[in-house]
């Protein structure tokens, strides 16, 4: 009980990297000027913001003019989806998304659905991937936008974005992707992809909370959804979150560099963790795709037990993790992602999500591989389902 706590919920949030905090500090203290002002202090802040915008753009192979700073992933999704929907010449139209999106996308598209747009929520296969022929069949003459998450926030499944975008552009349809979980986990080159709109967030990549960005491709016009003084190229009014912007720039730069240094190490730990969990006992299964998954994501399910009980036991043993069980959610509904990949509610209840980060160690993997089977055995012994205890 005296051992250090183990944090394995990096898809929930990440700690700020010390180098990111160091970059931000001057803008939380002495460099407080409003970058829209004209005096020397303000121009210095403006220059620093330009540098951060360049850092974000470089990490995506974009230009600084493509980057709009927002308050985070949710706002980026709202701006990208509503901003492009409301900019169409024709009124309304059709929007396609999937049944496994983050609520920031799902609720935004449902909102448009209640304001005159037609919407389609595509099913996914057992791995959580959109089947390309299903997508092809769903595209109509009046389809305006397709929004598909790049790497799923729960089960970590990576979509075939390049093919999705190619198919959409052949039919003159815009593509938005929520890349909040995929950024700094897998290489993302917006030019190579040809993506139209991409959302990202600071706090998932060792940056601060309350900052994110929307990438908008050259020549694409969108409408603002937050109105005011015309900041961020008139697309996102409100005095800029300067320390957040500086922190996001640094985090994006470090995240890009980490793709070849930190990520292979994290992936090796994740692979060992997954293998160990799946072999630890009977009736333990992988959720998501075996290969096309985010490198830090381990998502498994254990029959006959419930995730909240598993999480609380893990917490008592010093391990912070997540589940897809209804009992830990505010809605008391099982995860929509787990149901969409075809799990029954009772299967979804027994799920465990461990998402690794750069501060995790091999010793921590060992401790988790010891703790989880012990807890699962204990809970199975209490369960009236199946052959408890085995």
């Amino acid at each position: 009980m005296t051992a250090e706590r183990i944090y394995m919920d990096h898809s929930g949030t990440t700690p700020i990297d010390p180098a990111v905090l160091e970059a931000m500090m001057p803008y939380l203290t002495k460099n407080y000027a409003n970058p829209s002002s004209l005096y020397t202090e303000a121009r210095e802040v403006r220059t620093a913001m330009d540098g951060a915008r360049q850092q974000v753009a470089d990490a995506l192979n974009a230009q600084p003019g493509n980057i709009i700073f927002t308050s985070g992933g949710t706002e980026s999704d709202n701006l990208g989806i509503m901003g492009s929907a409301f900019n169409q010449k024709e009124k309304n139209g059709h929007i396609i998304t999937t049944s496994t999106e983050h609520p920031a996308v799902t609720r935004t598209i449902e909102f448009l659905g209640s304001h005159g747009f037609d919407t389609t929520f595509l099913p996914v296969n057992e791995f959580g991937q959109v089947e390309l022929d299903v997508l092809a069949d769903a595209i109509r003459h009046d389809t305006r936008l397709i929004s598909i998450c790049y790497g799923n926030n729960e089960i970590g499944t990576i979509q075939d974005m390049k093919e999705i975008i190619r198919m959409a552009h052949e039919r003159d349809v815009l593509v938005h992707t929520d890349a909040v979980q995929a950024i700094a986990k897998i290489p993302i080159d917006v030019k190579d992809l040809g993506i139209d709109l991409l959302s990202l967030s600071g706090h998932k990549i060792y940056g601060p909370k309350g900052i994110g960005a929307l990438y908008v491709r050259d020549g694409l016009k969108i409408k603002p959804i937050q109105h005011g003084g015309g900041h961020e190229n008139k697309l996102r009014s409100g005095t800029e979150n300067v320390p957040g912007v500086i922190g996001l720039g640094k985090a994006m730069e470090m995240g890009k560099a980490g793709l070849t240094t930190e990520i292979p190490r994290v992936k090796a730990m994740r692979d060992r963790l997954l293998k160990g969990l799946l072999e630890s006992q009977e009736e333990t299964y992988l959720n998501g795709h075996p290969e096309k998954r985010l490198p830090h994501n381990a998502h498994v399910r254990f029959s006959y037990i419930e995730g909240e009980a598993l999480l609380l036991n893990l917490d008592m043993m010093g391990i912070a993790a997540a589940t897809g069980s209804a009992c830990s959610s505010k809605s008391l509904k099982a995860s929509h992602v787990l149901l969409a990949i075809g799990l029954t509610p009772e299967q979804a209840h027994g799920s465990l999500r461990l998402t690794l980060g750069k501060n995790n160690t091999d010793e921590e993997i060992d401790r988790v591989l010891e703790a989880v089977p012990t807890i699962v055995k204990k809970l199975r012994a209490m369960s009236p389902l199946g052959h408890g205890g085995k």
Binding site: A309, A326, P384
Partner: protein, 122 residues
Amino acid sequence: MYSEKVMDHFMNPRNVGEMENPDAIGEVGNPTCGDLMKMYLRIEDNIIKDIKFQTFGCGAAIATSSMMTELAMGKTLDEALELTRDDVADSLDGLPPVKMHCSNLSADALKAAIEDYRKKHQ
């Protein structure tokens, strides 16, 4: 979110496990909702001499089952039937409101077990 008592009963559940040749069994809940509770009773002279439970469910579901076995042990069947979900919650120093209904099924499970016994011994 949970009281210390809930956490204690959840981490160290009392009277947990299957009972061999019980005099009565009560089962309530539904694994689809994430809670399934099974109560086993050993009854002599209308008194609960032994009680055990098995539960598939969240922390609250396990803690309420455990607490109910302590409350019911040694009671007459009529006394046991008077135990309510509020008694269980109060004995645990309260439950989060969202857990009061879905995960606080042990009074129902006990009632089902006693009804099972009375049906067999009419």
